[in-house]
Amino acid sequence: MTEERRDFKKRLQKFTRKALKATIKGIVFYGIYFVLSMFLAPVSEMVPSFQQMIEVFVMVYIFLMIIGELTAGTIFHHFFNGAKALFVILYLIFALNGGIVGITVQNVNLIVDLRLFLVVTMLLGLLGLAKSVLQAINFLNKEQNTYTSKFS
């Protein structure tokens, strides 16, 4: 009974630590977004959908980040990190319309060519995905070693 209680307490402590880490990470990420959004305010004034696009991105990214942190120490942590990297790539491709963004403001057609930016973000996203895959392989390798050493 005491063993069970101690185990539960340990798990709760571990979970609380993860939750705290996830919360801090989420707050820091949102803080960075908040500061950057002030710099991007002129664009948001011109393009109302820009703010919404960024907000959706930040929300989903923070959600995946929190889930990823809560599942730390499991294989799901790496899955969510991979999902986060894939989300960044896919969201930017769709949101930036393949890199050519066109808007019309008071009879003026504005076209911004963000293909170079998109390529760089995609490469960084792929690097993040590669890192998650390597982390997952490393994690499974470690688990396998632990399992082998336990039963040999």
Binding site: L40, P42, V108, N109, L124, K131
Partner: protein
């Protein structure tokens, strides 16, 4: 493996920070770049085309240089036929610099007249497509374009030849006085040489003459031309062939019947 993963993680984070910081600062600094388009001036080019000059001032107070600044003007008629296309290009506008340029483009009325002679005699509109493109921080291409309609004032608006008045000159000839009237709605002064050929009902050229007129912009013209006509050639009706010779265009014949 762990070291490799950590290296990838550190590299990715550094690149993300650099990319986001660069992108945000490039966009943010664009608000400190001022473009000022002045009043367009209209003049005459050396090749007798109408010259439009658009003064542009660019004050780059941003954090980065601006690359590949390009202004393009396209003028087309109402059928979409492009009569004028001109570009002004500046490779780099360094940060902190104030640059003043003049975007010049010329328009040849002869090109307009190839499609329709209405541009000489009727007021209409021309389509102008103005495109400005730059590279933010010499990396991010941005293009802004707009379509405008500018009024076109006809240089020979409502051109008419009045009723001929004959006055005896001698036994064989008469002096025919033909009133000429029109309004110069164009944005330039018109120095025009009008050549008129008078044909009788049997299509025989009975007389011809030339007159030079000067009509400042937006003013009407009322004048006349006198032709020495042989009495035997005069018929009740016929037609005039009118030719216009100006520094901007040559046009003719404009056939105007008389009776």
């Amino acid at each position: 493996m762990k070291i490799l993963i950590r290296m990838i993680g550190i590299a990715t984070t550094i690149f993300w920070i650099f990319l986001i910081a660069f992108f945000v600062s490039a966009v943010y600094s664009f608000k400190d770049v001022q473009f000022d388009f002045g009043e367009p001036q209209i003049g005459l080019a050396s090749d007798n085309k109408i010259l439009f000059s658009l003064p542009i001032t660019i004050d780059n107070k941003g954090y980065y240089n601006i690359g590949a600044f390009n202004v393009t003007t396209e003028i087309s008629d109402y059928e979409g036929f492009i009569t004028t296309r001109a570009s002004t290009f500046i490779p780099v506008i360094a940060k902190g610099r104030l640059i003043g340029i003049t975007h010049n483009f010329t328009m040849d009325i002869e090109d307009l007249l190839q499609n329709s002679r209405d541009y000489l005699f009727n007021d209409t509109e021309l389509e102008v497509r103005e495109t400005v493109s730059i590279k933010l921080a010499e990396v991010i291409p941005v293009q802004a374009s707009t379509n405008l309609s500018i009024p076109w004032g006809a240089p020979l608006y409502n051109f008419t030849l009045g009723r001929i008045e004959y006055v005896g000159f001698n036994e064989t000839h008469m002096v025919a006085t033909i009133p000429i009237s029109f309004e110069n709605h164009a944005s330039f002064d018109l120095t025009d040489s009008i050549h008129i050929g008078m044909y009788n009902s049997t299509d025989i050229l009975v007389s011809e003459g030339q007159t030079t007129i000067e009509t400042p912009q937006n003013t009407p013209y009322h004048g006349h031309i006198e032709l020495n006509v042989p009495i035997v050639g005069i018929t009740e009706n016929g037609h005039f062939d009118v030719y216009f010779l100006t520094p901007f265009f040559n046009f003719g014949p404009l056939v105007i019947p008389y009776d």
